[in-house]
Amino acid sequence: MAEPHPLLLTNARIIDPSRGADFTGDVLLSGGVIKDAAFGIAAAGIPDGAEVVDCKGAVVAPGLVDMRAFVGEPGAEHRETLASASHAAAAGGVTTIVCQPDTDPIVDDPAIVDFILRRARDTAVVRVHPMAALTKGLHGTEMTEIGLLQATGAVAFTDGARSIASAQVFRRALSYARDFDALIVHHTEDATMSGGAMNEGLFASRLGLGGIPKAAETIVLERDLRLVDGVRGRYHAASLTCRESLEVLARAKEAGLPVTCSVSVNHLSFNERDIAEYRTFFKLSPPLRGEEDRRALVEALSSGLIDVVVSDHNPQDVEVKRLPFAEAEAGAIGLETLLTATLRLVHAGDVDLVNALRAVSTRPAELLGLDAGTLRPGAPADVIVFDPEMSWVLDPATLKSRSRNTPFDGARLEGRVLRTIVAGRTVYEYV
C-alpha cells in the first residue's frame, strides 16, 4: 500500500490523556506517525502535499483501545468477522481491538495467534491484538505456552468469559506469567454460583428468574488478590460490577499490589431495571446490578479506581437472543457505541472528558504495552476526530457489526465520531 498523504488537522480541541493535555491547536500526521500536536502548526505553513482537514473545534484525541471485544473469527463468522468488527470499531472511534480467545478453535496455540494477526492484517481496517487463553482449551486445568504465545503477539492472557475454579492452577499460571511480565486478565465469577439469569435480588425474584449473587464475583476477586499478594504477578479483573468488588480492589491497590481492573460501559450505563419485561439485549455476563452499584462504578471511574472501560463487545444473532430470558445468550455489541456511551457519563457530569478518554485509550494501551493512546510526536498516527455534542439516535439498521444486539437500540446519544485514522490513513469518515 502507498504511503498516505500527510494529514493536517486544524482548529482542533486537542485532548491527549497521556499528558493530561486539553488545548486548541493543530495535529500533523505523516509517514504513519504523529509529527506534532501543537498550537499554530498550520500558521507556520502547510507541508507539501498535505491534506488539510478543518476540525471546526471538534475534539482530536488518540484512537480508542478496546481491551475486551469478542470477535467471532475464527469459528463464529456469522456473528462477527475481524473485518466487520474492524469497520464497527472504526465507526466508533476504536483504532485498536483486543480480541478474546474464546473462539473456535480457541486461541491457546501460537498458530492461532498468528492466524488472527495475519487475517487482521489482510482484512481489518483497525489494529487487532489477540489475548490468548490462560489455560489450554479454556478448561482451567493446564496453563498455555505463555512465553511462546506472547512472542507470537498475544498481549495478555485470559480464559475469556470463564473463571478458573482451581486456586492452584490460577496461582501457578500467575507465577509463571510473572516471569514474562505477562498480564493476566480474569473474569471473576464463581461458576457454581452463576447459574442464574440476572442479578440476584427483589427484581429477579419478581420476574421469576434465577439470580447471580454479587458474592459470586467478590469471592473470586478476593481469592485472586490473596494469590497476587503472594505471587506479585500482574493481574487485571476483567469486568467488575458491584460496590463490594470495588472495595476489595481499592484495598489491594492501597496495599500496592500490581492490580488493575476494567468495567464494561454497559455496567456504567444501565442497571437491572433496564431488563424490564425480559429484554434479552440487557442480559449480560456478568449481569447488570442495581442502580446503587452502577453509581459506585461511575464514581470509581471518576476517582481513577477503575482503570479501563471496555465495550465487552459480544455479537449475538437473533436466534439466540429472541428467546425466553433464561434461555437467551448473554452479551451485547459495543464497539460502535463505546465512545458515545462513555461521553454520556461526561455529559451527565459524572466524569471529566480527559479522564474518560484516558480509560478508553491511554490506560489500556499502557497495561497491554501497546504504542497507542497518546498524541506524542513519534507515536503511531491512530487518531480520532469527534464532535462531543452532536446528537443522534441509534438506528440498529445502520450498524456496521454483523449482529444487532445493542442495548442502545433506539437510544438518543450525544457525541459522534467524525473521522477515524489508523496509521495516518482515514478508515472512517462521518458523512
Binding site: G201, A204, L207, G208, L323, A326
Partner: protein, 315 residues
C-alpha cells in the same frame, strides 16, 4: 356488584396478576361464580365462544391445568385444540417464536400457554394477534391458579380482606406463590410465607408478606394454610437435606395444623406429594379444600376465557 355477566377485562391478554386491580379481580371472581352454578347443572353448555378457536399450547407437562382449560373452553362452545411439546415440532428445533408465528397463521382466538421459562408467555404474546392466557411461565406467574384459589377462599370464608393466609413450602421456585401473594395482597389479605431460607427468593422481605421460617409461628392464627408442591429434583441435598427432615419441619400434619385457627382451611395447587409437604390425613381431612379448588379451576378459567373473548374483534 352489578351484573357479573356484563364484565369484561380491559386488556387483550392475561399474563399475570401483576397489574390487575382489585375491581378486575373481583369482577372475574363474580363472573366465575355464575359458571360454578352452570357447571353443576346437567346442561353445562354456553355458546359464548361459538366459532372461536382455542389452542392450549403446553411446553411443560400438565394434566390438571390443561384439562381444566380444555373443559372450560368446550363448555363455552369454543373449538379446543391441545398441543403438547412432546408431539410438536418444538422438539425438532423450532423456536418458541416460530411456533407462535405458525399457530398465529391458523387464526386462533385464544391461546393458552404454559412454558418452563419465566417471561416466555409474554414474549410469545407480543408476536401473535390473539388473546394469550398464561397457564404458568417458569417461576414467574400462574394467574388462573391464584384466581381459583381466591374463589375457593371467598366461597368458604367470605371476603378476603383481613384473612390470614400462610403460603408454605417452596416459595423460591413457585409461580403459584408469586401470583397468590400479588392477588391476596391486592384483595387485602395478610399474607405470610413459611419456608426454610433456601426455599425463599432473594428480597422476599420486600414482598408484601410476613416471612416465617417455622410452621409453628407461621401457622399461628391462620385462616388459610396453602401448601406448595416441592419438585422432586429439589428434594435431596441441594435445597433441603432430605424428604424426611423436610416433612418433619415443614410437612403439614395434624399437629402443625392445630396452630392455625380451629376453622382454618387447607389448600394445595396439586399435584400433591403426600408425605413430603402434606400428610394424607390432612389432605383428605375435613379442613381440606383441595378437591373444591379443582372444581373452581374450571369456573375461573371459563370466566377468564369469557371476559377476554368479549374484547375480541367481531365479538
Amino acid at each position: 356488584m352489578t351484573d357479573a355477566s356484563a364484565f369484561t377485562l380491559d386488556r387483550r391478554d392475561l399474563i399475570g396478576i401483576e397489574g390487575l386491580s382489585a375491581p378486575e379481580i373481583t369482577g372475574l371472581l363474580d363472573l366465575a361464580e355464575e359458571f360454578v352454578v352452570l357447571n353443576r347443572q346437567i346442561e353445562k353448555k354456553r355458546t359464548t365462544l361459538r366459532g372461536r378457536t382455542q389452542i392450549n399450547l403446553f411446553f411443560e407437562a400438565s394434566t390438571r391445568t390443561q384439562s381444566s382449560f380444555e373443559i372450560a373452553g368446550k363448555r363455552l362452545g369454543a373449538d379446543v385444540m391441545n398441543m403438547s411439546v412432546g408431539n410438536s415440532s418444538v422438539k425438532k428445533g423450532e423456536t418458541l417464536i416460530d411456533t407462535a408465528m405458525t399457530l398465529n397463521a391458523m387464526h386462533p382466538d385464544l391461546l393458552v400457554v404454559r412454558h418452563q421459562s419465566s417471561g416466555a408467555v409474554a414474549l410469545l404474546a407480543r408476536k401473535v394477534d390473539c388473546c394469550v392466557i398464561n397457564a404458568g411461565d417458569g417461576a414467574h406467574e400462574h394467574p388462573t391458579q391464584a384466581l381459583l384459589d381466591a374463589l375457593t377462599i371467598r366461597r368458604n370464608k367470605g371476603p378476603i380482606t383481613g384473612l390470614v393466609v400462610a403460603i408454605c413450602g417452596d416459595v423460591l421456585h413457585s409461580r403459584v406463590a408469586r401470583s397468590n401473594i400479588l392477588l391476596l395482597h391486592t384483595l387485602g389479605a395478610q399474607v405470610r410465607v413459611v419456608a426454610p431460607s433456601t426455599l425463599l427468593p432473594a428480597g422476599i422481605q420486600h414482598f408484601p408478606v410476613e416471612v416465617h421460617r417455622s410452621m409453628e409461628s407461621g401457622l399461628e392464627g391462620a385462616d388459610i394454610v396453602m401448601m406448595l408442591r416441592l419438585q422432586r429434583e429439589r428434594m435431596a441435598g441441594s435445597f433441603i437435606p432430605s424428604v424426611k427432615e423436610y416433612f418433619h419441619y415443614y410437612g403439614l400434619d395434624e399437629a402443625k395444623l392445630k396452630r392455625a385457627k380451629p376453622d382454618a382451611l387447607v389448600m394445595h395447587p396439586g399435584p400433591m406429594n403426600r408425605g413430603v409437604e402434606i400428610d394424607s390425613a390432612v389432605a383428605d381431612g375435613a379442613q381440606s379444600l383441595i378437591r373444591e379448588q379443582v372444581e373452581m379451576g374450571v369456573a375461573v378459567r371459563m370466566a377468564v376465557l369469557d371476559a377476554l373473548a368479549r374484547k375480541l374483534p367481531n365479538a
